[in-house]
Symmetry: C2
Subunit: 426 residues, 2 copies
């Protein structure tokens, strides 16, 4: 069996933790499996390097001015952790070799600080495995065809791991992190939240995009495209992982479920805002102009909805992030004036709650149950949007936890996993 394991910064944050990871990896290797380890920079290393760059340049985001050099700087972080981990694995009696993103031939485009993976050649990774070695690959970094060092941006190490698993046709990609798996909701906000034994790639993408911190949607998208089985599990537990380990969350192409639950999980994210404009001219040109002007001003738009008013004119509602509100205000004022619109308002302090589950498809009652639940809980819905497997609701910050708890209970997410649903590793 070929296993790709990824360890985040917390999992290799200290010499002791590096040794603990080394013991687990060496144990898997002793069992006879081939192992590729993808590793992030230790603990706060990346933040420390960013702080140094900020001190040298006098600006908070040196990447905007010096993207190439910031990538060169940050790529030092994984070099440190991977070399230390290689030493520790060798000390555990297994052969190991560390490889930079460049040595492992993680080929990216040239977009510094946010590069996309073009191709994973991984010849030296394969050679290491053939030699019976554990291959340790730097996460988060790659090399462009112009031989420039690049970094992948947010979710970069997860992305490296899943892309490598796809290229090597690994049996599983294990994402070791500091939580026990993917939860039905944030356990700090919803006491009844529990770890999901299985979710589909599509569900995980929705959960991640809606704010679940455990994995970045981008990495899961690669997993979906190449059919990579991903397991999310805690690096702070003792067992060695592997196919039959009884914990964590498995993210697969299509979870084998006899009986569906309507919902898989609920997640939320603060810092959203809503812009409402009324009395605008009808027609596609209006919404188009609003979206173009907002984009030109650097205001990202999340949800959008349009309504025709009794007068024949339309009202437009878009949601965005609070940090973009100052940029948005002038644009909206100018637009509404020029288009001869009526009143407009901006509402900040909103949380975006997402209900995710492929089980909701073709179940019209879900929508109704969600709204009924929130009405009963006294939570006002500020905006709503749906996809095939998700419902997104905007509520006020101070009602966020009440909404999460009520929905979690209403959709019975706290009940123990149904054996017929969870499959063999429940």
């Amino acid at each position: 069996m070929l296993i790709v394991q990824k360890y985040g910064g917390t999992s290799v944050g200290t010499p002791e933790r590096i040794r603990a990871v080394a013991r687990r990896v060496a144990g898997v290797r002793r069992r006879g499996d081939d192992v590729v380890v993808v590793v992030s920079a230790m603990g706060e290393t990346t933040d420390d390097l960013l702080a140094l760059a900020a001190q040298v340049t006098g600006i908070d985001a040196p990447g905007s001015r010096h993207p190439r050099e910031l990538d060169m700087l940050l790529s030092a972080g994984e070099r440190i952790s991977m070399a230390l981990l290689a030493m520790a694995i060798r000390d555990e009696g297994a052969e190991a070799i560390s490889l930079t993103g460049s040595q492992a031939a993680i080929i990216t485009d040239g977009a510094h600080t946010a590069a996309r993976i073009r191709e994973v050649r991984a010849d030296r990774v394969r050679a290491a495995l053939t030699d019976g070695k554990v291959a340790i690959v730097a996460g988060f970094q790659g090399v462009s065809l112009a031989r420039e060092i690049t970094t992948l941006g947010r979710g970069g190490s997860d992305t490296t791991a899943v892309a490598l698993a796809a290229a090597l046709e690994a049996d599983v990609c294990e994402i070791f992190t500091d939580v026990d798996g993917v939860f039905t909701a944030d356990p700090r906000k919803v006491p009844g939240a529990r770890v999901l034994p299985r979710v589909s790639h599509a569900e995980m993408i929705e959960l991640a995009a809606a704010g679940a911190q455990v994995m970045h949607a981008r990495a899961v998208e690669i997993g979906a495209r190449y059919g990579v089985d991903i397991r999310v599990l805690s690096s702070f537990r003792e067992d060695e992982g592997g196919d039959d380990a009884p914990r964590g969350t498995r993210i697969t192409r299509e979870p084998d479920r006899m009986e569906e639950l309507a919902l898989t999980g609920i997640t939320s994210q603060r810092g959203h805002a809503k812009i409402s404009m009324r009395g605008l001219p009808a027609g596609m040109a209006t919404a188009t102009e609003v979206l173009v002007r907002l984009a030109e001003a650097g205001v990202p738009v999340d949800l959008i909805s349009e309504h025709t008013e009794p007068t024949g004119r339309v009202s437009l509602q878009v949601t965005t992030w609070e940090h973009a509100i100052e940029a948005a205000r002038g644009v909206v004022e100018e637009l509404v004036g020029r288009l001869g619109g009526g009143e407009w308002e901006i509402r900040q302090g909103l949380a975006r709650v997402a209900l995710v589950g492929s089980g909701m498809t073709g179940r019209p009652g879900v929508y109704a149950r969600a709204f009924r639940t929130l009405l009963d809980a006294g939570v006002d819905v500020q905006a709503v949007s749906t996809s095939a497997i998700s419902i997104t609701l905007l509520v006020a910050h101070d009602r966020e936890d009440a909404a999460l708890e009520a929905l979690h209970r209403a959709f019975e997410l706290e009940r123990a996993a149904d054996p017929s649903r969870a499959g063999p590793d429940a």
Copy 2:
């Protein structure tokens, strides 16, 4: 003019110092010169990384067990400093690009932790210069033909700088450090010590090999072989360097001297020991066997001398370092017994004082003056050795400073540089 500048770890030890270096480099560039900057890791970075490796592995010298991974680890240090310096130079308005040892194609053999440079291709360095950019190259590191990251060991960054200057046929290689240049003797030990305006490569090699910390002999050897003009100067002074700057020490093929001083400088180093064996069989076989057995036991030999005793047998005296004495003791005892030798003794606590100067060639009085001086100063000479341009003397630790001061005075090293000697930059 093409200038290679090298900055050591202290010179780039803080964000402020990195900015100061950037100002100097940008100033040189504005003057119209092409600049290649070789940079060491910041301040204590290398020591911090070594300490991390020691914590992970539980041994003090992880390089002995994991040489490849130690090189991978340590090479992160220069990545950090060079990326930060590139940002700072760009902020000063000059174009700049940082290049790893691998990107600059510093090709080495595969001897991890102590690699030797085979070839400097430097294509990307030349391309950067053609584009009008300052090229910043990681010191201390290279890449083997097997595409493994290597480090050069002691004196590595100086070696990178001089090798690059040779490959690029630079006009001068400026070594920026935390002292004002090459001194006639250690100014902490000899109050009258002063900066030498010029020395030859050969003299500098002798001075460096004899313990002068300012530059490593290895780098100067490359300078001698390829005729690279080297300037050693302080990074903590204001002027911008360049051909006509009035400070530091210039190391050149043959300093232009109308009238020679006998000596150029004196240096010393503690921690030496002397082994004396008497009554050994005459003939080459004896010395050979002693040297072979010591080498097998890992005992390095510095000086060696042989004397025929009145009996026809010989006495042999070798000097080594104190750290090797325990390994030497058993070897010597066994050898002397087996060869039917007489008494033997080991004397520790010796300092090795070296008098260096090409002016001593063909001046028999130098030897005599040195011994007369030490006799007058009450310093006992334990061993002596000479080369064409140096005299090496072993004295007891507690007489080291007295020997240095007396010799410095006797050879008039503290007098102001003779204008006819020092050339235009005195």
